[in-house]
């Protein structure tokens, strides 16, 4: 018997059966048991965050100590310093939301940087649209027409002037996009059910990691 393999498989099977039992039977005892398991899962995921922080220290600590050329180790150093600063300030004040210093760090450094990163997409998307959206052939022309109609329908002023633009966008989003997306989702759903059954009966062991 391979305990390293069989015990996790048995736990997975047991938890899976309880989850299915909760969904299909609604028996109070099963629901209560599953609630406890869900709470354990949440606690474990909390620990995973701590583990992630430790892993960050390990990976970037190594890069900083090696200081290899072309590895951008300076950014790793910045990351480690900021990680340490946030942890120390968070622990010193014991507060995150109300801590003035912690709040200042977040609102003055991270928030603008993060928002800027996201906002810079606008520039690249505009340039990308200019360079790529060209009706070179039939397929590209279809993409071009759809994109233009969606942009027009999504631009607040145009549908306000002529509501037909909005309905055109809605039509594209409806039968075309939703139809295609539902097909994709149904495919993914069936695959998820198959994967769930395989995991439950021990045929899928990828989640056990490299062995």
């Amino acid at each position: 018997m391979d305990y390293k393999r069989d015990i996790p498989l048995a736990i997975t099977f047991l938890v899976g059966v309880i989850a299915i039992g909760d969904y299909y039977t609604g028996i109070e005892a099963v629901t209560q048991t599953f609630n406890v398991i869900k709470n354990w899962g949440i606690v474990l995921q909390g620990f995973a965050l701590g583990l992630g922080a430790v892993n960050l220290f390990r990976v970037h600590g190594r890069r900083v100590s090696a200081r290899k050329e072309g590895t951008d180790w300076v950014f790793s150093a910045v990351l480690l310093i900021m990680l340490a600063v946030h942890i120390v300030i968070g622990l010193m004040t014991g507060q995150y939301e109300q801590g003035e210093t912690y709040n200042w760090l977040y609102n003055s450094i991270y928030l603008p940087i993060s928002s800027t990163m996201y906002s810079s997409l606008a520039f690249y998307m505009a340039y990308g649209a200019y360079k790529v959206l060209r009706a070179r052939n039939f397929d590209a022309a279809l993409l071009f027409i759809t994109a233009v109609l969606v942009i027009i329908g999504n631009t607040p002023m145009f549908p306000a002037i002529y509501p037909g633009f909005f309905h055109m966008r809605e039509w594209i989003f409806g039968p075309i996009v939703s139809g295609a997306y539902r097909g994709v989702r149904i495919g993914i759903g069936i695959e998820a059910v198959v994967l769930g059954i395989k995991t439950l009966i021990g045929m899928e062991t990828g989640y056990l990691g490299r062995r």
């Binding site: 629901t31 599953f34 609630n35 899962g41 949440i42 995973a48 607040p156 002023m157 306000a160 996009v177």
Partner: protein, 277 residues
């Protein structure tokens, strides 16, 4: 090089500078361009509006700083409507940074000053709950078993708002605003599929295509579609804010993008024609 060839290959710097100008002008000088309220935002508004006074809403702040410019204004407008209607709001965060978005949003709403709301009686923030869909299932399963303190460390057993809220059966509507596809679809699976609850969701515009099928089938009662949806909600709730200003920016910048697309295509065809001739 002909004029068409030049227009075909405009340098990145020129395109981006013009985009920047198209953003800055309406940002500095909002024009109040016309706006048509979308049906998805109207349905979100109606779903909340239909709730009787005192109904309980579970609100998930599922975004962080990257999503704040797009989703923050909509979140503020949504809270304005909920506080205005005297609804009870249980706020949680399935995104780690949601806890840091909460004070920013609340600074914009000021529930105590504007609505006389009392923390613990009319609203509560239970903080970040790890695990995304596990967190949703946990909160809807047995809230008191999962969470013992609010985000500030106060025991939730001492909060009147949560006296009668134990799980899904005691919640009238689930609302979420998120940048994560897992959170957006997760609430449909955990709240609608499991408990047949009413759910409304707000996402980035680029994610709308992925959750629209749930709206079409009635699993989502309404969608706040990015900054456009936020502007709609601001308009509907009568609390004009950053989103309405941003809708002017959207109009300017997206019109410019359309112009660039037209220029790119016309110049490409003309230069091709020139080469042929």
């Amino acid at each position: 090089m002909s004029i068409w060839e030049k227009l075909t290959g405009l340098p990145r710097e020129i395109v981006m500078t013009l985009v920047m100008i198209s953003i800055i002008i309406p940002a500095l000088n909002p024009l109040g361009l016309p706006l048509m309220t979308g049906q998805m935002s109207q349905d979100w508004y109606d779903a909340v509006d239909a709730l009787p006074e005192g109904s309980v809403i579970l609100f998930d702040i599922g975004y962080g700083s990257g999503g704040y410019p797009s989703l923050g204004p909509g979140n503020i407008a949504a809270f304005h409507q909920m506080f205005d209607k005297d609804l009870k709001i249980v706020i949680m965060a399935t995104a780690l940074e949601g806890t840091l978005m909460y004070p920013l949003v609340m600074a914009g709403v000021d529930p105590e000053g504007n609505y006389g709301a009392v923390y613990g009686e009319d609203y509560v923030f239970i903080g970040y709950v790890a695990g995304t869909q596990t967190a949703m299932a946990g909160v809807l399963g047995d809230l008191h078993d999962l969470v013992t303190n609010d985000y500030q460390g106060n025991p939730i057993s001492s909060m009147p708002i949560l006296d009668d809220v134990n799980g899904a059966d005691d919640i009238d509507l689930v609302a979420y605003v998120t940048t994560s596809g897992d959170i957006a679809e997760g609430w449909v699976y955990q709240a609608y599929s499991q408990y047949s609850m009413d759910v409304v969701g707000g996402t980035l515009s680029m994610m709308t295509t992925s959750i629209k099928p749930y709206y079409d089938s009635g699993q989502l009662l309404g969608i706040m579609d990015g900054i456009k949806g936020a502007a709609d909600l601001e308009f509907l709730t009568g609390h004009a804010g950053d989103a309405i200003v941003s809708s002017d920016i959207l109009t300017f910048s997206q019109t410019l993008v359309l112009i660039f697309i037209a220029v790119g295509n016309i110049s490409w065809f003309m230069s091709k024609k020139e080469v042929k001739s």
